[in-house]
C-alpha cells in the first residue's frame, strides 16, 4: 500500500497511516508483494475505486468472519514458491525444498478455492497449470506435509537406491567386522575415525589394521587402516551413490522442466493468490471495523454519517469506553470550532482516514459515506512539528503551507489543526483567514479546526462547531485521571453541526482544567480574570 504522492510523512503520521497499513496487511509473501504495489486511485478513477470497495464488501458479506479467518490461516502458512518458479523459468534445476514449496503452494491454492467456492468476487487460484504441476509432484508427498523424491517417480531411482543400500550394508559389515576385531584385540570400544591407545594398556605391538596417526609418550593416536576388502566395499558404495545421484538429478530435471513449461501460468496463479490475500485482508478489516463502501463521486466533497477514527476507538475500547461517532458534510473548505477535548482533531483524523480508505478502494469506517477522490491529502498545523529540524513550530507550519500551495494540486483535501496557534491571535487569525480564502479559491475541500474567533465569516466559508459540554460536569471525588476523562466524555456532546453565528466559540477550557484536577483557588482566579 503505497500512499506516496497522496500524503507526505506528516500527514501520514497525523492520520496514522502506519496503523491502517498494518491493519490491512495481507498475511502471505504473495500478498505482501501485491500490497507493496498498490497505489491510490486518482481523480478520474472513481468507478474503479468504488467497484473495488464494493467487491471487498461483497467478499466480507459472503464469507463472514470465520471463513475469512480460515483463509487468513492459509495465507499465513503458505510457503513462498516464487523463487522456485523463477529458477525453473530460467532453467535452474530445482532443489527438493523448492519442490516442497511448490507443492505447499498448490495445496494452499486448492484449500483457498475450497473455502472461496461460491464467492464470485474471488476468482479461483487453481488453473490447469497448477493442477498439472500438482499432479506431477503428488508422487513426492511424504506424510501430510513433507516431500521426498520418492522411488515412484522413476523405476531406475528405486533400483539405484536398492543397490546403494545393499552396498552401504556391505561396507558397514566390512568396517564393523574390522572394528569389532580390533576392539576385541584391544579390549575396548572403538568409536569414530580416531581413537587413543594407552601404551600402558598395550601388551606387545598394535594389532594389524591399525595405523598410528600421532605418537605421545603415554599414548598413540590411531585410526583403522582400511584393508583391501574395505576399500573395495567403499569403492562399490561410492559408485552406487553416484548412480543414485544421477537418477535423482534426472527426476529433478524432469520435474523442473514441467514447472518451467508452466512458469508463466504459475506466476499468474501466484499473483491471483496474492490478490486474494490482499482482498481477504481488506474484507476482514471491513467486518472487524464495520466499514461500508463509500459512494465515490467526481466532485471534491466528503460526507459521512457516524464516522470513526479506528485507532482511537480501539484504544478507548481497551479501557472499556466507547467512541462517539460523528457525522460531517463538506463540499468546500470550512472552519470547525469547539471546546478543548471536544473532538475537533479527531474529526479531522476521521475525515483523513475516510478519504484515504476511499482512495485505496477500501470500505470506510462509517455507516454511510460519499466522497470524491483527491490528488493530495495535506495536514497542516498541529503535528507539523514531527518534521523536526532547525525551524520553529510556526516556521514549519508556514513552510508546509507554502509547499502545499506551490504544488498546487487541483483536487486538494486539506486538514488544518489549529494553524498558526503559536503566533499572536491577531496575526494568526489574519493568516488563517487569508489561507482559507486561498483554498476556497482553489476549490479545495477540507476542515480547519481553530480556537480563533470570527474566522469563518471573515474568510467567507462555512462554519461547523462541536456542541460541547452539556453543562459543567461535577469534579470527580478522586484525582483519578481516568475517572475525570470518563466524566468529561459523559458530559460532552460531540455532535458537529453547521452554525450561522460566527461568534467566539467557548472553549470550556477553565471547566476542563478544573475537571482535570487543577486546584480550586487557581480555577476561581481564572474565572475572575475571565469576567
Amino acid at each position: 500500500m503505497n500512499a506516496r504522492g497522496l500524503v507526505d510523512d506528516v500527514t501520514a503520521q497525523a492520520i496514522d497511516l502506519r496503523w491502517l497499513r498494518d491493519a490491512l496487511a495481507p498475511a502471505s509473501p504473495y500478498g505482501a508483494r501485491r500490497y507493496e504495489r498498490i497505489g491510490p486511485f486518482v481523480p478520474g478513477e472513481e468507478s474503479l475505486a468504488q467497484t473495488r470497495a464494493q467487491r471487498i464488501a461483497a467478499i466480507a458479506a459472503a464469507c463472514g468472519e470465520q471463513r475469512l479467518d480460515a483463509m487468513r490461516e492459509i495465507f499465513r502458512n503458505v510457503a513462498d514458491a516464487s523463487s522456485a518458479i523463477a529458477r525453473a523459468s530460467m532453467g535452474d534445476l530445482l532443489s527438493d525444498a523448492n519442490l516442497l514449496e511448490l507443492q505447499r503452494f498448490f495445496d494452499a491454492c486448492m484449500r483457498l478455492d475450497g473455502l472461496s467456492s461460491g464467492v464470485a468476487e474471488l476468482p479461483p487460484a487453481v488453473d490447469d497449470a497448477v493442477r498439472s504441476c500438482a499432479r506431477e509432484l503428488e508422487l513426492g508427498r511424504a506424510g501430510k506435509f513433507g516431500f521426498y523424491l520418492a522411488d515412484a517417480f522413476d523405476e531406475s531411482l528405486a533400483r539405484a537406491r536398492a543397490a546403494l543400500a545393499s552396498a552401504q550394508a556391505e561396507y558397514d559389515a566390512v568396517t564393523g567386522r574390522a572394528s569389532a576385531k580390533l576392539a576385541a584385540q584391544l579390549g575396548r570400544e572403538i568409536s569414530g575415525s580416531e581413537f587413543i591407545v594407552m601404551r600402558a594398556d598395550l601388551a606387545g605391538s598394535l594389532p594389524t589394521g591399525v595405523r598410528v596417526v600421532r605418537e605421545a609418550p603415554t599414548y598413540l593416536l590411531c585410526e583403522i587402516d582400511a584393508d583391501e576388502a574395505m576399500l573395495a566395499a567403499l569403492e562399490r558404495r561410492d559408485a552406487f551413490a553416484g548412480a543414485v545421484a544421477a537418477a535423482e538429478e534426472a527426476v529433478r530435471a524432469r520435474l523442473t522442466s514441467i514447472v518451467q513449461k508452466h512458469a508463466a501460468a504459475l506466476d499468474a496463479a501466484a499473483d491471483r493468490f496474492g490478490d486474494a490475500d490482499v482482498l481477504v485482508a481488506a474484507a476482514r478489516f471491513t467486518l472487524a471495523h464495520r466499514c461500508v463502501p463509500a459512494t465515490i463521486v467526481e466532485e471534491p466533497r466528503l460526507e459521512f454519517v457516524d464516522g470513526r477514527f479506528i485507532p482511537l476507538a480501539l484504544e478507548l475500547e481497551k479501557e472499556g469506553r466507547n467512541f462517539t461517532p460523528i457525522s460531517v458534510a463538506l463540499h468546500d473548505v470550512c472552519v470547525l470550532t469547539g471546546p478543548n477535548m471536544g473532538g475537533k482533531s479527531v474529526c479531522l483524523r476521521i475525515c483523513g482516514e475516510i478519504v484515504l480508505c476511499a482512495a485505496f478502494g477500501i470500505p470506510v469506517p462509517a455507516s454511510a459515506a460519499t466522497t470524491g477522490l483527491f490528488a493530495e491529502i495535506a495536514w497542516l498545523g498541529v503535528g507539523s512539528e514531527v518534521q523536526g529540524g532547525l525551524l520553529s513550530s510556526f516556521a514549519r507550519e508556514v513552510v508546509r503551507l507554502r509547499d502545499v500551495l506551490e504544488r498546487g494540486r487541483p483536487q486538494l483535501f486539506v486538514l488544518m489543526d489549529e494553524f498558526a496557534r503559536t503566533t499572536t491571535p491577531l496575526e494568526g487569525r489574519a493568516l488563517l483567514v487569508a489561507m482559507l480564502r486561498r483554498f476556497a479559491e482553489r476549490r479545495a475541500c477540507g476542515l480547519s479546526a481553530t480556537h480563533l474567533a470570527a474566522v469563518a465569516e471573515a474568510a467567507g466559508v462555512r462554519h461547523f462547531a462541536v456542541r460541547g459540554l452539556r453543562g459543567i460536569p461535577e469534579k470527580p471525588k478522586t484525582s483519578d485521571l481516568a475517572a475525570a476523562l470518563e466524566t468529561l466524555a459523559a458530559s460532552m456532546d460531540y455532535t458537529i453541526e453547521e452554525v450561522t453565528a460566527d461568534s467566539a466559540a467557548g472553549s470550556d477550557a477553565i471547566a476542563l482544567a478544573a475537571l482535570l484536577g487543577l486546584d480550586d483557588a487557581l480555577i476561581e482566579e481564572a474565572y475572575v480574570s475571565l469576567e
Binding site: A79, S95, D96, A97, L100, E101, R104, A142, G143, F145, G146, F147, Y148, L149, R161, L164, A165, Q168, G187, R188, E189, I190, S191, G192, S193, E194, F195, I196, V197, M198, R214, A216, P217, T218, Y219, L221, A241, V244, A245, E248, E249
Partner: protein, 298 residues
C-alpha cells in the same frame, strides 16, 4: 576404565527424563562434535531415531573459523535433521518435512528426515532463541534430540529442559591446569543450585555481570544471590571461580549437567589423557569420559 562412552553419555542424559541433550564446550575444538556423534551413534544403535542440530555451523569438513579439519557427521536413515537448506546434500535425497522461517548462516532452516545414510553438515540457527525453536521443531518429529552447542554458547540452555554435556579439551587452554580451571568454572556456573526461599536472598534482574558481582563481593553480601537460571551468570574463568567462592550464587531454575568429556589432543598441544580426565573429575565431581580412549575417569 574402558566404557562405551556414547552409551554412557546417552544413558546419563536420558536418566534425567529430558527430551534433548546439548553438548556445550569450554572453547573451540574441544571435542563437542565427537561427543555428540558418540551419543548419536549410541542412540541409533538403540533404535531411537534421534533428531540432530547445531547452534550455528558445525559438521563441515573443515572448521570455517580456523580451517582445522572437523569430524563429519554420517547420519543414518531415520534421523531427523534440522539444518540450512543450502547445505543439505543434494544426494541422496532427504525427505523435507518442514520449511522453517528460522534463518541460518547458510539460508533458511529446514527439518528433514534422512532416508539413506549420508554425510551431513549441520548449520543451525545462530541465536539461542532460534536454537530453542529448532529443538522444539525436531521434537515434533521425534522424541529425542541431540544438539551440538558450538563454542560456549550456554545462552541456548536458557528456557530448555535439556540434559547438558560439557566438553573440554587441550585446544582451549595453554596448560592442563588452566584447562581444568576453565571447565571447573563453567561447570560451577552451570551447576548453580536452586535457591532456598526460606533464607534471605537478593534477586538479580537480568544477568549477574562482573561489575554487579564485584559490588556484591565488596559489600560482603551474605544473602543468596538469585538469577533466573545459570546462563544469567555472565562470569567466566577465574572471575567466575572468584565470585563462586565468595558469594552464595543460586538460581530459580537449575540446569541438568550430566557429564563431562575431555579431548586431550589439541592442534598445538596434547595433555596426558588419563591425568587430564582424572584432574577434571576431581575438580568437578561429575562423570568424566574420554571419547578418544573410550575411558571413564576413575
Amino acid at each position: 576404565m574402558h566404557v562405551a562412552v556414547g552409551e554412557r553419555l546417552l544413558e546419563l542424559s536420558r536418566a534425567t527424563g529430558a527430551p534433548s541433550a546439548i553438548v556445550v564446550g569450554t572453547g573451540k575444538n574441544v571435542g563437542k562434535t565427537v561427543a555428540m556423534r558418540a551419543m548419536y551413534e549410541a542412540a541409533v544403535a538403540r533404535g531411537l531415531r534421534p533428531g540432530i542440530t547445531s547452534i550455528g555451523r558445525d559438521g563441515e569438513a573443515a572448521d570455517v573459523g580456523d580451517a582445522q579439519s572437523k569430524p563429519r557427521l554420517f547420519l543414518r536413515a531415520g534421523t531427523i535433521v534440522a539444518t540450512a537448506r543450502d547445505v543439505l546434500p543434494r544426494s541422496p535425497a532427504t525427505e523435507i518435512l518442514e520449511l522453517s522461517r528460522l534463518t541460518t548462516a547458510a539460508g533458511a532452516l529446514v527439518f528433514g528426515r534422512v532416508r539413506a545414510d549420508a554425510f551431513y553438515e549441520l548449520v543451525g540457527p545462530p541465536t539461542a532463541s532460534g536454537l530453542r525453536e529448532a529443538i522444539d521443531g525436531i521434537l515434533r518429529f521425534t522424541p529425542y534430540a541431540i544438539v551440538d552447542g558450538a563454542i560456549d554458547r550456554i545462552a541456548a540452555l536458557a528456557g530448555g529442559t535439556d540434559a547438558v554435556v560439557v566438553a573440554c579439551g587441550a585446544s582451549a587452554s595453554p596448560t592442563m591446569d588452566e584447562a581444568v580451571e576453565d571447565v571447573r568454572a563453567l561447570v560451577g556456573r552451570l551447576c548453580v543450585r536452586r535457591y532456598d526461599e526460606r533464607e534471605p536472598y537478593l534477586r538479580i534482574e537480568g544477568a549477574l555481570t562482573p561489575s554487579r558481582a564485584a559490588e556484591c563481593i565488596a559489600s560482603k553480601e551474605s544473602r543468596q544471590i538469585v538469577v533466573t537460571d545459570p546462563t544469567q551468570i555472565a562470569l567466566t574463568g577465574r572471575a567466575a571461580l572468584h565470585a563462586m567462592a565468595r558469594l552464595r550464587l543460586r538460581c530459580e531454575r537449575e540446569l541438568r549437567v550430566v557429564a563431562i568429556t575431555v579431548a586431550s589432543l589439541g592442534r598445538d598441544r596434547a595433555f596426558e589423557p588419563r591425568a587430564f580426565a582424572h584432574e577434571v573429575s576431581k575438580a568437578t565431581s561429575l562423570p568424566v569420559f574420554d571419547v578418544y580412549s573410550a575411558e571413564e575417569a576413575a
